[in-house]
């Protein structure tokens, strides 16, 4: 049990942290993979990245060409981009500050010192001169924060909302990444699939699981359906669902976010990869992504808005058949 406002802050704390980290990972991978690519591939790659981050229309408003320099600045620091990495860290910190008394001091300190460190640097100069250092710093700080988070935070409802936020965010971006890569399947070289793997920090895990495979279908299977890799869509959804189940169990009923998410997860869990590839996979991924967005919306309705001002109905005695379990 916790204040709705606090639950919402923690949910967004999780989402912003995740967003800052994967945005940086993608910049890093794109920047470095382009060093070995033909010039014509460059603009396409940056455009793809903007699409994955859902920042393309925002970027186009700046009127700048999609070059490494401009995209980097936009995604990393541009004030006009409310989802820039520095804005995400600032908002993660603001959310942490508003739940300061609920989170471990060490968590707050690691996030606050991250924020201060970022503000002390001249990010524009860093990006122009040595983007690698900046990417590394952001990634490491994000990992420090999530390490402190999972090592110091009690597994209470607060933890659950952070975790749900992070995993929904992670699953969404992975769906978008796969959809955009798949859309250009014909002319995507395996080099680019490798970049997709790298931006999920999945290249090594993939190699281990698939022994030197160069088959895009297997990359998709891995990033979409792997039950063991922590950044796959299926893995993220299952973890978010597990936390939603614990939250819901306290009410003694299956909540709407549980039902919505359970359906998406089951659709992936019991699908055959051939079946998925045979159908319009891109369209399917777009649908999954938008369904996940609905889950986030229903979490907000169930737990944050609290529009029904009074305690939710809790059945006394055993729950009626068919409302529990799967």
């Amino acid at each position: 049990m916790m204040l709705s406002r606090h639950a919402e802050s923690l949910f967004w704390l999780g989402r912003y942290l995740e967003r800052a980290e994967y945005s940086t990972r993608m910049l890093d991978v794109t920047y470095h993979s382009l060093l070995e690519s033909a010039a014509w591939e460059s603009e396409r790659a940056w455009r793809d990245l903007l699409q994955v981050l859902r920042s393309e229309s925002g970027f186009d408003k700046t009127g700048s060409p999609a070059t490494s320099e401009h995209v980097n600045r936009f995604v990393m620091i541009d004030r006009a981009n409310s989802d820039s990495v520095s804005a995400c860290i600032e908002r993660a910190r603001e959310n942490a500050r508003s739940v300061r008394e609920l989170i471990p001091t060490e968590l707050w300190q690691s996030l606050n010192s991250f924020y201060l460190a970022l503000n002390q640097r001249d990010l524009a100069v860093d990006l122009a001169e040595q983007p690698y250092d900046l990417y590394e710093m952001v990634k490491q700080r994000c990992q420090t924060v999530s390490g402190v988070l999972s090592d110091t935070m009690a597994r209470d409802d607060g933890w659950r909302f952070v975790t749900i936020g992070r995993h929904l965010e992670r699953a969404q971006v992975m769906c978008r990444l796969l959809a955009i890569r798949y859309q250009n399947l014909g002319d995507v070289s395996f080099h680019q699939w490798l970049a997709a793997l790298k931006s999920a920090s999945a290249a090594e895990a993939f190699r281990k699981a698939y022994r030197g495979s160069q088959d895009p279908a297997e990359v998709i299977e891995f990033l979409l359906l792997s039950p063991v890799f922590p950044r796959s869509v299926f893995f993220s959804l299952r973890h978010a669902e597990a936390e939603l189940d614990i939250l819901g169990a306290q009410f003694g009923r299956v909540t709407r976010p549980q039902r919505l998410l359970g359906r998406i997860r089951a659709g992936l869990e019991f699908a055959e990869i051939e079946e998925l590839l045979h159908d319009d996979l891109r369209l399917h991924l777009v649908e999954v992504e938008s369904d996940i967005r609905w889950v986030a919306e229903s979490v907000a309705l169930e737990y944050f808005r609290n529009s029904h001002e009074f305690a939710p109905f809790v059945p006394t005695g055993p729950a009626p058949v068919g409302t529990k379990g799967r």
């Binding site: 049990m1 300190q109 606050n112 944050f304």
Partner: protein
């Protein structure tokens, strides 16, 4: 001691906490001065940097208004602690308990009693009714056990003879306790060795003490485990850090007005499990913003219906509404009589000679001597709107003469108290700076005082204004434990060798020796 850090230290004209008038070190400071003698100026400034970094990372900041977008600043803590010997503190503590006891009874008499103190002619009725802090809305609103000031901050200064005097009472929302605890935490990290020479009484039980008191004042119907919350104006308030700090120390929810709803005179908070009943609200917002139904209708910070719920006895608001009447600076002049009236005892703590301006003779005398006196508006806090006669220009004095004549009830005049001074680290050496002390007094089952309190220091040379909003800093305040205290902890090293660290049995290689220097704050000062 005139060498090293103390070179050129000037200790005459004021009461100095460390040195007697003859330049002798007072006995309770000898160990500290000897310890400081081991530090080089560089070493101390290195530790100052460590301290600053620690405060910034921890986000121990307050927001400064009126400088563009709200700027987060740290409240500077001087590295040289202030020390109060056990017997001296015992006397101050008795005086504080006596004073707060009398003020609680005074407020209860005014709001739910028969106003006996007015009928008996001790405090004039018009003086009470004309106070900005007197809230008619609080009339008849009782507080369990009459603990109307659950938290009181009583500002003390020491005059030229070292006598403790009450400068003012803060009975509404006194702040600063978080700095007391955080200063101590910081000092134990950056100057840990200095603690070894003393037995310093701890302050970190404050959270438990406050929670106990708040639960004690819960409505009787709340049962054994009342729900306490801290009510904050929100993350942009200058004291937000402290609000979050207190909620964390007590392990209770920190709520904003929008998290609370009142239905049928029951206060509840919005949670992920629906509404949850609240029994005690430790509010850190002013009376005027508490409840738009009875106070300022434009307040977004409060909760509509809160006062009615309190009146129905379903929730306790702490501190109680209307306490401002008792820390009105004109009422201050009556506090010695208030103490005599309710306790039948002589006041233990001295006050500062204070002149009320409604009496035409007093007023004439004060107007004559404005250049020697301090003039304060009765309802302000935070050091705003004051005139310090000896430091003021002719024009400022003339301006105040006009103000006093126009609104005699709005101001008081006091003799200048030459605040005691304490060695304070300024650049690479120590200089005397004026200090005061705000102890925190908790009224729960009994009235208790946290050992010490917040020592504020006026960092500007010669300044008498210690408020954080006016360029003040703070010091860790050490109250020494009495000799032969039965609570003395046992030998800490006991049992240390019984502990074994488990390790990987395959690991046989010798671990490399880690160099301790530069790795952390360091225990020993470098030579």
């Amino acid at each position: 001691m005139t060498e090293g850090l103390f070179a050129g230290y000037d200790h005459d004209a004021f009461f100095d906490e460390v040195f007697t008038r003859d330049g002798e070190i007072r006995p309770h400071y000898r160990a500290l001065v000897a310890r400081l003698g081991l530090f080089s100026a560089d070493e101390l400034s290195r530790r100052e940097r460590l301290r600053d970094a620690a405060f910034r990372t921890q986000g121990i900041t307050f927001t400064v208004y009126g400088e563009g977008e709200g700027v987060e600043r740290t409240f500077p803590m001087d590295l040289i602690p202030r020390i109060i010997p056990a017997d001296e503190w015992a006397e101050v503590e008795r005086g504080l308990v006596q004073r707060v006891d009398a003020l609680n009874r005074f407020l209860d008499d005014l709001y739910v009693g028969e106003q006996a103190i007015i009928h008996d002619g001790i405090v004039p009725k018009w003086m009470v009714l004309s106070s900005d802090g007197f809230e008619r809305e609080a009339t008849g609103l009782s507080v369990p056990h009459s603990s109307r000031c659950v938290v009181a901050g009583i500002d003390l200064v020491r005059d030229v003879d070292g006598v403790y005097r009450v400068l003012e009472d803060n009975l509404r929302n006194p702040s600063g306790i978080s700095y007391v605890l955080e200063n101590r935490a910081a000092m134990t990290r950056v100057l840990s060795l200095a603690f070894k020479d003393h037995r310093v009484r701890s302050v970190d039980h404050y959270g438990a003490m406050l929670l106990g008191a708040l639960q004690h004042v819960a409505p009787p119907a709340a049962g054994d485990d009342p729900t306490v919350v801290v009510l904050t104006p929100g993350v942009y308030n200058s004291a937000y850090f402290e609000h979050a700090f207190l909620a964390r120390q007590m392990g209770v929810e920190l709520v904003e007005g929008r998290d609370l709803v009142v239905d049928d005179h029951i206060v509840s908070m919005r949670t992920t499990h629906g509404l949850r009943r609240v029994d005690v609200i430790y509010r850190r917002i002013d009376d005027a913003f508490l409840d738009p139904v009875v106070f300022r209708p434009d307040s977004q910070l409060g909760v509509p219906g809160l006062m009615a719920a309190a009146r129905a006895g379903n929730v306790t608001i702490a501190n109680a509404a209307g306490n401002g009447v008792a820390d009105d600076k004109a009422i201050y002049a009556f506090v010695p009589d208030i103490i005599r009236y309710y306790t039948g005892e002589e006041p233990i703590l001295e006050s500062v000679p204070t002149y009320l301006l409604d009496d035409p003779d007093h007023r004439a005398e004060v107007l004559d001597r404005l250049g020697d006196l301090v003039v304060k508006p009765v309802a302000e806090s935070g050091g705003y709107g004051m005139l310090i006669g000896p430091a003021a220009t002719e024009a400022e004095i003339d301006e105040f003469r006009g103000k006093l004549e126009a609104d005699p009830r709005g101001y008081i005049a006091q003799e200048v108290v030459s605040l005691s001074r304490h060695p304070t680290l300024i650049d690479d050496h120590l200089e005397g700076r004026h200090i005061d002390l705000r102890p925190f007094v908790i009224s729960g089952e009994k009235i208790e005082v946290v050992p010490g309190g917040l020592t504020r220091v006026a960092l500007r040379r010669g300044s008498l204004v210690v408020n954080s909003s006016q360029g003040g800093g703070s010091k860790d305040t050490w109250v020494l434990a009495p000799e032969r205290d039965p609570r003395r902890p046992g030998d800490r090293s006991e049992g240390a060798d019984r502990e074994r660290v488990e390790g990987d049995p395959r690991e046989t290689a010798q671990l490399p020796v880690v160099r301790a220097d530069d790795a952390d704050a360091g225990e020993e000062p470098s030579p």
